[in-house]
């Protein structure tokens, strides 16, 4: 896929191995907020997170800054300049302590993707092509065009469940549902992985809706 940055630089954007993305996310858990004990209904005590704690907010800011910085390392192998990457500007940046390390990654970090909007858009494109994304799921669901009483099935609200699971768990369930081994599933292009998850979501919801009618 091609991406043109705010400054007009043309980039070729490919994919990274899904495993690399999963490891990247798993190895960077966000900071936990401090908690305070409060009395809840029935006199029980419950730990409530203090989300506006200044120390926690500062930690979150540092976390997002480090996350943004590291994201460039994650996607660097998947993003190339469509023509030769001009490096004269990088030399100037190096004189003021910017752009250390690998030339290509430094060029991406400080020049081609130095604006947050461009970095965000390119990270999204890499993820879309490499792993399951909500965009990919929505596109597949539109293609499948499954409705229930003339409404798209995924738009129907279902009763909540006390259980919670992460996206990686749902992806594994979806792979199993469509009889893919995990390595086979992870090797699929991102939109294909998303289509498998969309198929799983649609199938399980349809089954649930049908059961309600019996």
């Amino acid at each position: 896929m091609e991406y043109i940055t705010t400054d007009g630089t043309r980039l070729e954007v490919g994919r990274v191995p899904r495993e690399k993305i999963d490891n990247f996310i798993a190895s960077r858990p966000p900071p936990e907020p401090p908690t305070k004990e409060v009395e809840v209904f029935g006199g029980d005590k419950e730990a409530m997170p203090i989300l506006d704690d200044p120390g926690y907010l500062a930690d979150m800011q540092r976390y997002y800054i480090a996350f943004g910085h590291d994201q460039v390392n994650l996607i660097a192998d998947a993003v190339r300049g469509a023509s030769d990457e001009p490096l004269a500007e990088l030399e100037e940046l190096r004189e003021i302590g910017l752009g250390d390390g690998d030339e290509h990654t430094a060029w991406l970090r400080h020049i081609a993707l130095g604006r947050d909007a461009d970095l965000g858009n390119v990270v999204e494109l890499v993820l879309y092509q490499s792993t399951v994304t909500e965009q990919g799921i929505a596109e597949a669901a539109r293609t499948f065009a499954v409705t229930w009483m003339d409404k798209p099935v995924l738009s129907l609200g279902l009763p909540g469940s006390p259980g919670r699971y992460g996206a990686a768990f749902e992806a594994r369930k979806a792979a199993q549902f469509s009889q893919y081994s995990w390595p086979e599933f992870a090797a699929l292009p991102g939109p294909e992985q998303s289509a498998v998850v969309a198929f799983y979501r649609l199938s399980t919801r349809l089954e649930w809706l049908a059961n309600q009618q019996r």
């Binding site: 091609e2 800011q61 604006r115 858009n121």
Partner: protein, 134 residues
């Protein structure tokens, strides 16, 4: 139009720079609090601002070199060359021109830093169009 008027009456034309470099420099020097509130830099005196921000030199060079649109005239580049600042690196030459020939004191240096940071961080909050396609 983003501009900054100097004490001399000269008006500099400013443009937003890339956020990644600012962030990198501020984090490197422990002043990431300025990312949320660049006006903090203006809340102290010129001298204190300089002291408070260890990264001032580099930060100034980046913001002035990349965040000012005006180019140094040829005769000023010649003066800089005589002083030992080569003109073959356009961003660094612009920063040197501002630092050594145009800005009068630390207060103007601080004003320029804060002004470019302000327009950069406020621009970053505006939604931008993604320019991607197959």
């Amino acid at each position: 139009m983003n501009t900054l008027e100097l004490k001399s009456g000269r008006v500099l034309h400013l443009r937003p720079v890339r956020q990644a470099a600012i962030r990198h420099l501020l984090v490197q020097f422990g002043r990431d609090d300025l990312l949320d509130a660049p006006e903090k830099l203006l809340q102290s005196s010129g001298k204190a601002q300089m002291k408070a921000l260890e990264a001032t030199e580099r930060l100034f060079t980046y913001l002035a070199g990349w965040g000012v649109e005006d180019a140094p005239p040829a005769e000023d580049l010649e003066i800089l060359a005589e002083l030992g600042y080569p003109a073959d690196k356009p961003h660094l030459a612009r920063a040197n021109w501002l630092r050594y020939l145009l800005l009068e004191d630390d207060d103007e240096v601080s004003d320029l830093i804060a002004a470019v940071m302000q327009i950069t961080l406020s621009t970053a909050e505006e939604p931008e169009q993604a320019g991607n396609g197959d």
